[in-house]
């Protein structure tokens, strides 16, 4: 083996590069593919067997990934219905096959996907009911918060709201390009500078979900979800559901169960209620 890196295992430089890049040899441990539930695995293997033995023509096979992807997008869009606008989602009927595949009870986790946030400014109505910009929620304090200084000044509020929305949009764009660290920085800046804005509310939930999913920072995620819950806003339901995810990450089944019960009781009309109920069924062995 030469220095040219013909085989990674024989080239010291290459091995160290591999470690730096964190690229591991392939195995069957979880990741990087999203794990399948037992029911999804069984359904996929069953489908393959049927295809293999010719019971079902290949051309008519179920496009599992497409269905899961579209259903995931639909669920995420529903979760953020009030002020979020996701990319176009399929009607509810499309989710039906997905639901059928998930009979094993492992819940989907659409809410923890960081929501795409609409720019949601006064200039760019989203079509969703617009929260009153003149009466923002109680501020989360912070001496550097610029939006506190302009409360009561309609034009100023709108100007700062637009700035917050622009930064939020930029954070979303960064996340879309997988620049997670920079996106997180920007989400936190929105929270710090415009703590009482509806954009800050969205940024808290988005940043919390990113901390949990992209960085595995359970404690940081919990703090942000709690802040999002406390400060109110349009996404308190998502924050409550996120807290349940945090407890799940900690393997704290009791706290997770309690959080999910609180979620289903307080937000009976939330699209995530069915997800929460399925997870509760698993936790409670029903």
């Amino acid at each position: 083996m030469t220095k040219s890196g013909n085989t990674p295992s024989e080239n010291p430089d290459s091995v160290s590069e591999s470690e730096v890049l964190q690229l591991e040899a392939l195995d069957s441990a979880p990741g990087p593919a999203r794990p399948l539930s037992a029911a999804e695995t069984a359904a996929m293997i069953d489908r393959l067997e049927r295809q293999l033995w010719g019971v079902r023509p290949r051309s008519k096979r179920l496009r599992l990934g497409a269905v899961l992807g579209v259903a995931g997008a639909f669920a995420a869009a529903s979760a953020a219905a009030a002020i979020y606008v996701l990319r176009p989602a399929e009607p509810a009927a499309v989710t039906a096959p997905n639901e059928a595949l998930r009979t094993g009870g492992t819940p989907e986790k659409p809410s923890t996907s960081v929501p795409e946030v609409a720019r949601g400014t006064a200039d760019e109505p989203t079509g969703a009911p617009a929260p009153s910009l003149a009466s923002p929620e109680a501020p989360a304090a912070g001496p550097r918060a610029v939006d506190d200084k302009v409360e009561g000044s309609g034009r100023g509020v709108i100007r700062h709201s637009k700035a917050a929305a622009d930064q939020l949009a930029e954070a979303n764009a960064l996340r879309g390009r997988h620049r997670y660290r920079q996106a997180l920085d920007l989400y936190l800046r929105v929270i710090e500078r415009y703590p009482s804005s509806m954009q800050a509310s969205a940024a808290r939930v988005a940043a919390a979900a990113m901390r949990l999913e992209q960085f595995g920072d359970v404690q940081g995620a919990e703090r942000l979800y709690r802040e999002a819950k406390t400060t109110g806003g349009e996404l308190t339901a998502e924050a409550q559901f996120g807290l349940a995810e945090v407890f799940r990450a900690r393997n704290d089944a009791n706290a997770e169960r309690q959080a999910l019960h609180e979620f289903t009781a307080r937000y009976p009309d939330n699209p995530l209620k069915s997800v929460a109920e399925r997870r509760l069924q698993v936790l409670e062995g029903r």
Partner: protein
């Protein structure tokens, strides 16, 4: 016999039985292969939505072609090549390219209650997602599948120097990305 040898022997035995049409062995082989195939597909494609469709196609190709596995080398390595070729071939399908463009790249990320390694791997593929496809391919073939540069060049039908160049550029891009990401998490 080392544990790895036992594994290889078991895989090969199952493959031979599956090739002979033994249904339980085929099913067992699928159970073993599924997570590995899905992980490899995810390493090679951007985002989650295509993973299951492509894994399904790749598994079908493996089973349909299993009689051509001649027992030379590890069955898993042979299967990995089939999967990689399936993914590369899928990129030539215009309908699939269109479908891929419509799907959400992030998709739903799954359970939080998974080992740290899962999150690490998710971060790694997020880095790979930001790379040009050609650079991504050679990095995965080289570091994840352990293929040599001549093997990769042969697989992709490109000169060896091109493979080296793509590896170098891919690593450089990831290093640059990582330089941005090495600061501690903001509070």
């Amino acid at each position: 016999m080392k544990p790895r040898d036992v594994d290889d022997a078991r895989w090969s035995l199952l493959a031979r039985k599956a090739a002979a049409g033994d249904s339980p062995s085929t099913k067992q082989l699928l159970v073993y292969l599924l997570p590995r195939v899905r992980n490899l597909v995810r390493y090679l494609v951007r985002g989650d939505p295509e993973v299951d469709d492509l894994s399904q196609e790749a598994l079908l190709l493996i089973l349909q072609g299993i009689s051509t596995y001649r027992g030379e080398g590890e069955f898993r390595s042979w299967a990995d090549r089939v999967v990689a070729r399936c993914v590369f071939g899928s990129r030539k399908d215009p309908a699939r390219r269109f479908e891929q463009a419509l799907l959400d790249v992030d998709g739903a990320v799954e359970p939080a209650a998974l080992p740290d390694r899962y999150y690490l791997r998710r971060q790694v593929v997020a880095e790979l997602d930001a790379l040009p496809q050609q650079q991504r391919d050679v990095l995965v073939l080289h570091y994840v599948l352990g293929m040599t540069i001549p093997e990769i060049a042969s697989e992709l039908t490109v000169p060896e120097e091109t493979v080296r160049s793509r590896i170098r550029l891919g690593k450089q891009r990831i290093r640059n990305e990582m330089a941005d990401e090495t600061n501690p998490l903001p509070r």
